[in-house]
Symmetry: C3
Amino acid sequence: MLLSFANLTSSEVKGVETFHARRHLLNTCDLSQEEIKSIIKVAASCKQLYLKDLSPIPVLTNKTIANLFYENSTRTRASFELASKKLGATIISLDPKSSSVAKGETIEDTTQCLISMGVNAIIQRHSAAGSADQIAAKLGNKVHVINAGDGANAHPTQALLDALTMSEIKKDLENSKVLIVGDIAHSRVARSNIWLLNTLGADVHVCGPPTLVPQELSKLNVTVHNHLEPALVEADFVMALRLQLERQTQGLIAGLGEYKKLYRLDHHKLTLAKPNVKVMHPGPVNRDIEITSDLVDDLKYSLISQQVSNGIAIRMAVLYLLLSNPENWHGDSIK
Amino acid sequence: MLLSFANLTSSEVKGVETFHARRHLLNTCDLSQEEIKSIIKVAASCKQLYLKDLSPIPVLTNKTIANLFYENSTRTRASFELASKKLGATIISLDPKSSSVAKGETIEDTTQCLISMGVNAIIQRHSAAGSADQIAAKLGNKVHVINAGDGANAHPTQALLDALTMSEIKKDLENSKVLIVGDIAHSRVARSNIWLLNTLGADVHVCGPPTLVPQELSKLNVTVHNHLEPALVEADFVMALRLQLERQTQGLIAGLGEYKKLYRLDHHKLTLAKPNVKVMHPGPVNRDIEITSDLVDDLKYSLISQQVSNGIAIRMAVLYLLLSNPENWHGDSIK
Amino acid sequence: MLLSFANLTSSEVKGVETFHARRHLLNTCDLSQEEIKSIIKVAASCKQLYLKDLSPIPVLTNKTIANLFYENSTRTRASFELASKKLGATIISLDPKSSSVAKGETIEDTTQCLISMGVNAIIQRHSAAGSADQIAAKLGNKVHVINAGDGANAHPTQALLDALTMSEIKKDLENSKVLIVGDIAHSRVARSNIWLLNTLGADVHVCGPPTLVPQELSKLNVTVHNHLEPALVEADFVMALRLQLERQTQGLIAGLGEYKKLYRLDHHKLTLAKPNVKVMHPGPVNRDIEITSDLVDDLKYSLISQQVSNGIAIRMAVLYLLLSNPENWHGDSIK
């Protein structure tokens, strides 16, 4: 009984009920510790489904889900598609770039159109920060909205999968030191992770050049560093962000050579961290820019592949908890 | 028993049989009143399937359907995809723009290729008027052809869904006054609606600037107007067309401001029509160009969302009636 | 019991077991005669599935397959997609051109990402010769790799479907004369066919202008011709290749008129071959360039549509034999 809730604590039961009642996953800043832990618990069950090559479980066969990616993404889109299919849902992937939207339709009108087609959940990625909140506010009583990235604002399933990955190493993240390295200012991944990790009681640090990691980020309740070496000291987890060359205006970094020298993770720099430190990256990695190629492949340190696997698990859990009928939670099984 | 035909009249039974024997849906000009009414009746049953969030019904699991859209479309393509999936069919969506067709293959050869792959039905949108008829004439004994729009010629499922939508308001459309406003001359939506509405005995009027609505359109058995106010008098339904800016050569409209002043639907102009007049649009709407934004959202008048919902229902009905085995019609059920 | 192996000879049983143990289909040069014949035998069974409009058989419901086409292709991609769906597998189609790969990710990292997502098989087309071998060598213990075309190197499912097609005409291809006409030097289709046909004991000839069919091709154990008429004498099968105008550098052919005069297949030239000679083409055909339009459509000679049908059958057989559990081979059935 993979998705049976018999093995949830009463706090976790409360967590899944609160999350279900929320109807949407827009960001991580207002998720409670209970909700986060219960999503992670359910995701750990879901993980068995594809690790063991099991057939899809027919728990969402009566639901229709739309992938609506206004920005390109193979990984996240494929991850949501597989998660949906493994739960038996009907999923359609729309390509708004070559469609009505190109003809000037508003995102509310596109959403309303999908609702009218019987779509129960919209997984949206959009370049505008706040766009997921916008459609949830206007049409959220008729459709579940899952934010798959909105501008530099939030990417909640990424933060949840990162937390699942870390919790597989260290059961309780309270007081764990997590260091995020790279372009924090423009990163929705960083922002969602910071919110979530703070809720879990982790000690969050960020590091990068002052142009990408300004002091004002300390408002997010993180310790701000511009030098990597001191930031690494005693770190349990180091998460490198992708250097989004295409999103940056000229002049924010002095040059790739300089960036690599100062901020690229390698085996040598890691000796400053805890001996069992783990390295993470949301992918796709620019090998030898954010992390040395050797370190990416060193499974003693690198959790990058687990992050991808856990992406499916988290998305299954989120879709299941938001879309399914709680009355079935005790009975849904995979066998 | 959603798709049981127990509740069809003998005239409707004859309609579905005639339509099934036709094998294709190419346009609305030769559909009989019997056929139209029976498709609408079956579609009304299909509508329950997604409105009630039911799982797909396994009535076309042994059929393969190909979406072949030579022109971009999110809505129509997604609508056919969902309709196919809700009937349990296998559907593949091809993107001919980036494929063999770009290499100069004829539409007959592409069709033959799909037939050889075991495809049972082709849903085709193409910029050339007559292209659906062309493949039906050459290969129609081996595959069902459903025209999803061919140039300025026909878009039959749109007209059928519009008729279903109107019939939900007014059971019998005979003598209802339907006014279509906009670029009639270049519109396959208008053409298919005019044919179908005339068959149902409606009183069809069209209105727009003389460049887009020339007097010669009266040959289609419609009353031609170039002034909106007198056209609106006593109208039961007013259907605005999308102003296809991208398809128009320069000079057909004096300017957007002028167009909006003369032809944009708004609450004030609607007072000329019947008190319970309804407003329709095939979507996507250019808000404040064809219709004021307020009117689009005013559910007292606007049927636009119902049109989208009914699109799924009509496409399910059309696919079911053309592809399924009539021997099963009495037994297929959703429960 | 479509996929029961009760009707296999002991040699064919050995063939399917050898092929299953191989884990990948990368090319045809190292496939044994036993393997080839057993794949063809299983494919002939699979063919009934779509020819008879049967529902998908649930033999790979617990498998996830990824279509990863770095080069455009409608036919091959759709063929693999349908083959996967007809076996009940979950399939996702990725478009690497508009995704992470465009961001500079290596093919190994993309493959690893898919493996982490639980993908069991990758169907890859890529412009680089050797790219399928490359990922199989590095990650082949974790995923099945099926080469759907790598540069000018190999396209093994095409050669297998061609062999199935020929074997439907002539049960044993030993000593059959097969002539391949066109741009042999740049063709993965030609290369895969030559390897496979030699293994089956066929007498393989190639023909085309010296720039496209140099004498050095005789190293591949084929008879090289630069004049079509003598090459056609006594041929059992003549396979024309698509003239890949887009792939050729200027100057390799004197001109289309000259090429057509010398190398285009037509009814008249075919009188030099065996009376029951058959004509093949991997598609899409440039009508009247490689073959006259009349000959393409003359079913006395043309096997082109059968080739497309057999593409689905071969791909079903390959996916089934590589991905399924041999313990189930005796029990899997379609009814």
